[in-house]
Symmetry: D3
């Protein structure tokens, strides 16, 4: 009897998209205005979903307060009000597209969760664009 | 050619979280302010999703008016403006966590739907916390 | 050059509507299922709006972090996960309708704000019902 | 390492639901006010989701600008501000239920996407009714 | 001590914009695709706001159930699933722009409300376009 | 018979808050993490509201397509995917707080609108923080 529990969080960050192996022209061609060397930014809306059995003693799959605190300590404190390209280890050499950010968030959270639990990340870059990753 | 159709509904209810097998201290430790013996409450937003083949005569998987009425008769009339702990049979001895409420709603709706249809319940306890259950 | 700045917050609470000067029948007639003596509850979404001149040194009408903390200390800590009727001083003898809750929140916040600032409270009782109060 | 990327779009259209093989009475009985011969309409909110591997050079599963333009050229320009029953080839002889519209949108977009990509359509007919189709 | 109470409602309708005093070309020039003679449609989201004194016996400015029923009887039953141009008296000779629909709704509701109450109409034609009218 | 028409738009930008007349410590004390010298960013949601008489020939206060294009040409093209501090004339020496951005947008749009029309700017910096300015 597996149930999925989800918690919404958010962080604001600056980023630019580019591939250091490419010329400026090629970057401009591929990434357009997202390649602005002076950066732009987003309000990232994050949904962390955890699937597992209900614990019959608590009625919880996982305590949402624990999940909320885990997201704050592991993700929000790391990325909120940061420049992803210049101020985070994770994107020093990885292009901070929504896809890559979702994978990084998954990899950061996965070790903190019991192995019996499934994890899924949903990340809104804008209200009209979002990505999902399940490992 | 299976399609999933979903209908949103809602109900407002009071509840508290606790485990009668535990001491007051243990309940306080595990459930925190959700354990308030005088209750608190939520606007529960419910999404009922039904997956099945499109009927070629109607173009429907299921008539949404029928689904809307089924949700009203089976779920809203039972739980809306109620105290889940003291005024419902379902949670007399079951902790009314979002997880358990979703399972109860699934079990209440399942017998009313054709066996060829799949059912999924999504329940928002708050705009930032929600659960999903597919049986 | 006055600008209005607004901050959203929320709290979950239980309540019932009734008038102790009336009979049970009269209360039932007027308040219907909102009169349930076992309580029901809501996710209250609160918007606090403050209007004033922009401070040319900060570019702020008011620091949103200060406003956020003020709402938490003055309103959320007082009402979140509480039974408004039985566990708050404010509604011991005042019917906790959305209208009255908005006025109470206004009166609680007003003394903490500079006299040159205008205050407005918007309170969503459900996603479809809300009230506004400007003093 | 597959990720799903989603893009929201919308279009406004008029339609009516009916089955030409049925009598007017039968259509009225089955489709109710959705059978109004003078039409009614909706703001259709469309989410197009594409699942695939991240391209390590771009960090993209698919360029969202390309997806946005594809939706505009293939779906919005075809259906926006149209009468689905009388002004589109697709629904000349197919009942424009949300289910059938989702399948038609899937079939229109599928040939434009690389075979290695999975496609999913989510279509909101109203804020409370929506359908999903994955082929 | 005046408070504003608001109730959200919605209806789906077809319409077209045109001025019968103008040529087809002039209508096409001014109204563009909104002039489509085969109609298009919208999910209209309606907010009805009523401002007045709190009744100290009830704690209400106005009973929201009464307001909800008034909107249903006076507005939803009249316009929902209708073709505004061909099936309503109000828009037989009045262009059904969002502006005009808001004024018509105001004029339909005004006589049903106590003179001491202020009325305001907010009407969303799409999630990105809306109008407000206060008489 | 004045009606207010509103149009939503959005742009993504990077910014930092600081006062060049202050020391780094003072800036850190006042603006906290918003003072990050490497910038952070937001999805700014913008609502432009215009109030005026309905033109009886069109049923419009103002053509929403004209307003949409005006916002795109005057605001979105100027600020979207830009670093407000380093890449815009307007914020070279003005702190890009939400308050100041709203005033700048007002001042940029005001000359393009007929004098008989009132203008109001609403700007969401995050889903929980927003400002309003009416001149």
């Amino acid at each position: 009897m597996k149930v999925t529990v989800s918690r919404k969080a958010h962080f604001n960050a600056a980023h630019r998209l580019f591939n250091p192996a490419w010329s400026a022209d090629k970057n401009e061609e591929v990434f357009g205005k997202c390649n602005n060397p002076e950066f732009h930014g987003h309000n990232y809306e994050l949904i962390v979903s955890v699937k597992g059995e209900i614990d019959s003693r608590t009625g919880y799959v996982m305590d949402m307060k624990v999940l909320k605190d885990l997201i704050k300590d592991t993700i929000e404190d790391r990325f909120d009000h940061k420049n992803l390209n210049t101020q985070t280890e994770e994107f020093k050499s990885l292009n901070p597209t929504a896809e890559n950010i979702a994978v990084v968030i998954f990899d950061l959270l996965r070790p903190h969760l019991n192995e019996t639990l499934d994890l899924k990340i949903t990340l809104y870059e804008t209200p009209r664009n979002y990505v999902e990753y399940e490992g």
